[in-house]
């Protein structure tokens, strides 16, 4: 049961930019590609918040942390508090598939599938962060480029019964009725998003320690099983 969006998402998040994000892209190309972002996000001298926040100084900033911008989603602010900082790696994951990083993001953007294009956009954006020289140069090479998920692993059909058993562990905190006070709801979460998000925790791209621990010990079969179960509800 290969679901193409699922495979695309997982593959990309695992090996995101293994070829391109090792080095910065072309800022001039990035300026052109940025046009698709510009309708919501201003950047550069005098940039203001529009639909989305301005992106000056985005590198090294804590996610959801600009106090004068009031339209962050609950989930984005939560991730920021949990320790999500914007750097090449996290921005690359975010603009590739916003929901992989922040399930309830208000950034209604399909994402940029092409890794080179993402690297270009990030190279462009990086010019508008105050101290680009201070951005740790280790970040691009710290990408988990060695991680490799074989297509047959991605093709695993989730075992719904097993997923139901595994879900009992989730239910201790994530309420079945979808209540999201303090702990986000995962009820009715689309299967694809579920798989991508769990792998993001497993890869420690998403920050929360409890979720990193739970996801970290789930096998690929178990992630598929959980996603299949939650998808079957």
């Amino acid at each position: 049961m290969i679901k193409s969006p699922l495979v695309a998402g997982v593959t990309a998040i695992m090996i995101a930019g293994s070829a391109t994000a090792q080095e910065l892209g072309d800022a001039e190309e990035g300026a052109k590609a940025y046009r698709q972002c510009a309708s919501c996000h201003q950047v550069g001298e005098g940039a203001k918040h529009r639909v989305g926040p301005h992106l000056n100084g985005i590198f090294g900033r804590r996610a959801g942390s600009m106090e004068d911008y009031t339209r962050y989603s609950k989930g984005l602010m939560r991730e920021g508090v949990d320790g999500l900082f914007w750097d090449l790696r996290t921005l690359d994951a975010y603009i590739e598939n916003p929901k992989a990083l922040v399930s309830d993001t208000r950034m209604a953007f399909r994402g940029i599938k092409d890794a080179e294009e993402r690297a270009d956009v990030l190279a462009y954006l990086r010019q508008f962060s105050a101290n680009p020289a201070n951005i740790p140069e280790a970040a691009p090479t710290a990408m988990p480029s060695e991680v490799d998920l074989a297509p047959e692993v991605l093709a695993i059909a989730g075992d719904v019964d097993y997923g139901e058993y595994l879900s009992t562990e989730c239910m201790t905190c994530h309420q079945a009725d979808g209540d999201d006070e303090g702990v986000p709801s995962i009820t009715g979460w689309p299967e694809e998003d579920f798989v991508v998000a769990m792998h993001a925790y497993k890869q420690k791209i998403r920050p929360h320690p409890v979720m990193q621990m739970f996801a970290g010990r789930l096998s690929d079969e178990e992630i598929a099983a959980l996603a299949a179960y939650y998808g079957s509800l």
């Binding site: 939560r78 508090v81 949990d82 320790g83 019964d161 097993y162 058993y165 595994l166 009992t168 562990e169 239910m171 201790t172 905190c173 994530h174 309420q175 079945a176 009725d177 209540d179 999201d180 006070e181 303090g182 702990v183 320690p209 409890v210 990193q212 621990m213 739970f214 970290g216 010990r217």
Partner: protein
């Protein structure tokens, strides 16, 4: 059947007698029967999952003495006014009405392992194919010289939530200005490792406003305790100069009490106290010993299933067990209950059984919006339930993360409560 069960629960003990008696006769040719003793995080969860997942194929009876159950977790928050007592109170109505569980409010006083029956204080006998024991803790007699349960009004333990929690709160509120609150902390292993220290934090929070010159003295037989760095950092920040802890090097393990005189003797030196919270050494709930499935103070279990190593028809959950690396906590008991429920259902109805997975997280509140957590995941090995991976809050975290951790604990409470009680 379902209607009968609802009626039965609604009308209480009279109906219990009429329904439980035929159960003995039904043995062997009716539905398989599971009896669960103890309606806390282990027992209520196990009963609910067996009933829910077997979809009526297994008859589940839950024996719990109290009609209103107060969770021990979050009872410290009640002391400091962060929760009301009502908000940690739960009833068994949903388990009975929506899950078809026979809820019997009575004490289990006997287990006949050969006949596979449980005797209740009210005189009824329940037959079981599988028995789940999840009775929580009892106190070791004579653990603190001078104290026994008859002294629990003068010197409350408040380690079973409810009236004891109310009593302790009132006593703290009535302390004289500049008075002394003493806590006799328990030796390992005990229910909720960070619990006594979260309690000290909450008492500090109470006294800071209403009685700021009062002091808190902890007498501790342990050289170190759970989340120690986090608590000590928080105490210095929120309650500077208020809390003193005496460990075993300075007599913390050599303590006796006199509840009538309201004194404690530490290493031979007598001190007057205004409130004394005695948390004695613990052991498995009494029914474990009555059933004879204990080894010393605790019940040994098979790591892969929570089955008693002494009797294959009995499962033991939660605080009463020796569960390897897992701490005694509500989260642990809830986690273990799901493994046992799955195994029991597999045995009785041939449903699928998957490898056991266990986990735990304990949140503690140190001050207003200052929450911390520690947790781990576990797997069953040949010898024990072994820790795989874990995490703990760090000292020096910013206030926003601490507030978020506290909010997460509130979310967890709602989650586990609905996982236990439906």
């Amino acid at each position: 059947m379902k209607l009968n069960r609802r009626t039965f629960v609604g009308t209480g003990m009279a109906a219990a007698a009429s329904l439980s008696a035929p159960s003995v006769h039904a043995a062997g040719h009716g539905k398989p029967r599971v009896v669960v003793i103890g309606g806390g995080a282990g027992g209520a969860t196990a009963a609910r999952y067996i009933a829910k997942d077997s979809d009526g194929a297994i008859d589940v009876t839950l024996v719990e003495p109290t009609r209103t159950y107060y969770t021990c977790f979050f009872s410290n928050l009640y002391l400091a006014g962060f929760r009301t007592l009502e908000s940690i109170a739960h009833s068994y109505g949903t388990l009975a009405a929506d899950y078809g569980i026979n809820v019997v409010h009575d004490w289990a006083v006997g287990v006949d392992r050969d006949a596979q029956t449980v005797t209740l204080a009210g005189g009824d006998t329940l037959h079981y194919d599988r028995l789940v024991l999840s009775p929580g803790i009892d106190f070791v007699d004579g653990a603190v010289p001078g104290w026994d349960v008859t002294a629990q009004n003068a010197m409350p333990h408040a380690y079973k939530a409810g009236s004891q929690s109310e009593l302790l709160k009132r006593q703290i509120e009535s302390m004289p200005e500049g008075g002394l609150f003493a806590m006799i902390a328990p030796p390992n292993p005990y229910r909720c490792p960070p619990g006594p220290y979260e309690r000290v934090s909450m008492v500090g929070h109470m006294l800071k406003d209403m009685n700021p010159t009062a002091k808190i003295l902890i007498l501790d037989p342990k050289p170190a305790f759970s989340k120690q760095g986090l608590f000590e950092e928080g105490w210095a920040k929120h309650y500077p100069g208020m809390i003193e802890r005496i460990g075993p090097d300075f007599g913390g393990a050599d303590v006796s009490v006199d509840p009538e005189a309201m004194t404690i003797t530490v290493d031979g030196e007598v001190t007057n106290v205004d409130v004394c919270n005695v948390i004695p050494a613990m052991k498995a709930g009494r029914i474990v010993e009555i059933a004879g499935v204990n080894d010393g103070n605790w019940a040994p279990i098979e790591p892969s299933s929570m089955r008693s190593t002494i009797d294959a028809n009995i499962y033991v959950l939660g605080d009463s067990t020796s569960a390897g690396d897992m701490p005694k906590s509500g989260f642990s008991a809830n986690s273990q209950a799901k493994v046992a429920a799955m195994t029991i259902r597999g045995e009785l109805t041939d449903s699928r059984v998957f490898p056991a997975k266990f986990s735990n997280t304990c949140w503690s509140l140190i001050g207003t919006d200052d929450g911390v957590k520690v947790g781990a995941s576990y797997e069953a090995t040949e010898e024990k339930i072994a820790k795989v991976d874990g995490f703990i809050s760090q000292t020096g975290e910013d206030e926003e993360l601490r507030r978020r951790t506290y909010e997460e604990s509130i979310g967890w409470y709602e989650g586990i409560a609905s996982d236990m009680f439906g």
